[in-house]
């Protein structure tokens, strides 16, 4: 059984196609994060699910019901906006109870539902205030509270943490995760921040240019990306990409160093140009092949340091160094485990 199904969903603005055929099935209770760079269509896709954007072709099913042509209020969804979108002339309690009021629920019943949601979010003391009297974090809680009160089949979050400061963002992120555990309802969450995606998601949907690049659990995307885009987008700091050439069926030459890649199932064609990817955190091994790097800049974070340098004078490389205090200008040897090397062909597709 699936809670939400998208079938060959497309959206065009005039001649410009922004969603180019999306298929996705989300199971009940799943926390799915749409992630991608700006302009990738993730917000548009969410708004199509909400019913705020007209679907050009394809279908949306929620709880086994075709809702493609239904109004937002008939879809069984609730949405939390980036801007919170609270009604400025209503109190917090009125904001949260508005949907129930429209649905014709009696006042005591509304009050009870609002107080229950307020208890979960610890905003009971704010109920009689207007949005203008609240801080950004409080407004965000009210916006979440408003969506809880409706008891929807699916929660939609459109970059809900973007307007919060860094500390509050981390707190609220944890609270959203906790909320998901408490309510056990399907949630779809849009963000451009891969950290939010990694920490919150059961499954991540990576979008680019209106198509899905890869869908999978956060660790799957990190450990086994399908292409260079996903490999570069997931993980922070981003993966290093270095040009390399196939030296034999399972060896590549990079920056003058030939590395054996026994994990490869594909037979490489000798002389083929490729891209090699390796994450900064995998460049601090103790043995294995190593490359010499001249340090340009060191970002020292205490526990770890991000070391920016050059290989052979013109290949930029980022190394995450633990347990050492490198200095700019030094030459260091960077050993790594070839097991952590990813290969991508000229189109950016993964060579496994």
């Amino acid at each position: 059984m699936s809670n939400l199904t998208l079938k060959n969903l497309k959206k065009s603005y005039g001649a410009v196609e922004v969603i180019k055929g999306v298929d996705l099935a989300i199971t009940p209770g799943e926390f799915v994060v749409f992630v991608g760079p700006s302009g990738c269509g993730k917000s548009t896709l969410l708004r199509m699910i909400a019913g705020l954007e007209v679907v050009t072709s394809g279908t949306i099913e929620i709880a086994d019901r075709d809702v493609t042509q239904l109004e937002p209020y008939d879809r069984g969804i609730a949405m939390v906006f980036q801007s919170y979108a609270l009604y400025p002339h209503m109190t917090v309690a009125e904001n949260m109870g508005f949907a129930l009021r429209l649905a014709g629920h009696a006042k005591p019943e509304r009050r009870k539902a609002v107080e229950e949601a307020a208890r979960i979010l610890q905003i009971g003391h704010l109920l009689d205030r207007k949005p203008a009297q609240l801080s950004g974090g409080q407004r965000q809680r009210v916006a979440i509270g408003r969506s809880i009160v409706r008891q929807p089949d699916v929660f939609l979050f459109d970059e809900p943490l973007s307007n919060l400061d860094a500390e509050l963002r981390v707190q609220t992120r944890i609270e959203i995760a906790r909320l998901h555990q408490t309510l056990d309802t399907t949630m779809i969450y849009v963000t451009h921040d891969q950290t939010e995606a990694m920490t919150l998601a059961d499954r991540i949907v990576v979008l680019r240019g209106g198509i899905i690049e890869q869908v999978g659990a956060p660790t799957d995307l990190y450990d086994d990306p399908d292409n260079a885009f996903v490999a570069g987008f997931i993980g922070s700091p981003a993966m290093n990409f270095l040009p390399c050439v196939a030296a034999s069926a399972n060896e590549v030459t990079v920056a003058g160093l030939t590395i054996a890649l026994p994990q490869l199932q594909t037979q490489l064609r000798q002389g083929e140009s490729m891209k090699m990817g390796i994450r900064p955190e995998h460049l601090n091994g103790t043995n294995g092949p190593s490359v010499a790097m001249k340090i340009d800049v060191v970002e020292q974070l205490g526990a770890t340091a991000f070391v920016h340098g050059m290989l052979g004078g013109d290949l930029p490389l980022l190394v995450e160094a633990r347990a050492m205090r490198p200095k700019a200008g030094d030459m260091i040897n960077v050993p790594f485990d070839p097991q952590h090397v990813f290969l991508f062909d000229a189109n950016g597709d993964r060579i496994r």
Binding site: L52, Y73, F98
Partner: protein
């Protein structure tokens, strides 16, 4: 408030005074001095020949007992009672245009057109439309209605005048409302759609409350317009008649001052009008202040 006055050096403050002085001077010469002068004159029997005798509160007592003035105040009350319609109609039209009805831009232009016409031209147009053998009666005759002397009958003249005033001014209000509508955040309307609000519910619960400052502003502007800008239409369309059916205070003041050679009495009537206007202005300031605090 004290923070604002503390900003800037002494030199900057001197420049500020320099810039403010001309406007202040004009205000004193052309507003405050005539006001005081008129106030003084209202206690005399001044006429246009230049003689004036102190008569105490006679003019005011006379005004209170003057049936023409009483009628003009009654007409003003009727006029002001139409104010809600003069605000709500443009608001609804603006909302419909904002919703994106086909040809919205065309409607906006057509609605606004009368606002750029002078009241004399508007009056001339509606003289043709509303007179006994005018186009409105010709049009109604097609449906078998008898001709009505819209401007010449005391039961219809004021209504006709109000309708013409509405026609000639509502375009400006539509424009103000349209500007106001662009400030209503799209996301709260979308949030209301998700919360289950149908079109009219979104209007009632979200759009109209969001427009409250605009509604109040248009209400004040419309009221001021009704109290002070009707002269041209009255002069051209009805001349205050038939009888006193369309006589408004400002028209009466002009009559008393110019035609009937009683500037002293006209000054007293002006004081009544001034008090009415001051009441509106006071309400306006209070509303603006309250909105600023939201």
């Amino acid at each position: 408030m004290s923070d604002a006055t503390n900003i800037g050096s002494k030199a900057e403050k001197r420049i500020a005074v320099l810039f403010l002085a001309p406007a202040l001077l004009l205000l004193i010469i052309f507003r405050l001095i005539p006001l005081g002068w008129g106030f003084g004159m209202s206690f005399t029997d001044a006429n246009n020949a230049g003689t004036a005798r102190w008569v105490g509160a006679d003019n005011y007592l006379r005004a209170v007992n003057d049936p023409t003035f009483q009628d003009s105040v009654a007409n003003t009350v009727i006029l002001l009672a139409t104010m809600p319609m003069m605000v709500m109609l443009p608001m609804l039209l603006a909302i419909l245009i904002h919703q994106g009805v086909p040809g919205g831009k065309f409607f906006r232009a057509v609605y606004f057109l009368p606002a750029v016409l002078s009241s004399v031209i508007v009056g001339a147009i509606f003289n043709v439309v509303l007179r006994y053998d005018g186009s409105l009666n010709e049009f109604l005759a097609v449906f078998g209605f008898d001709a009505v002397d819209w401007l010449g009958s005391s039961s219809t003249a004021l209504g006709a005048l109000i309708a013409v005033q509405l026609w000639s001014t509502f375009g400006m209000s539509v424009l103000i409302f349209m500007a106001g509508l662009t400030t209503v955040p799209e996301d709260i309307i979308e949030a209301a759609r998700i919360d289950g609000a149908r079109f009219w519910q979104r209007l009632w619960f979200i759009v109209i409350p969001s427009l409250r400052p605009i509604i109040e502003f248009v209400a004040v502007v419309t009221t001021v317009g009704l109290l002070t800008n009707m002269f041209g239409l009255v002069y051209v369309l009805t001349g205050g008649g038939p009888g006193t059916a369309t006589t408004l205070p400002e028209f009466l003041i002009w009559l008393e001052q110019g035609k009937l050679n009683r500037p002293g009495y006209a000054a007293a009537l002006s004081m009544f009008l001034f008090v009415m206007m001051a009441g509106v202005a006071y309400a306006q300031i209070r509303i603006m202040k309250r909105n600023a605090e939201v």
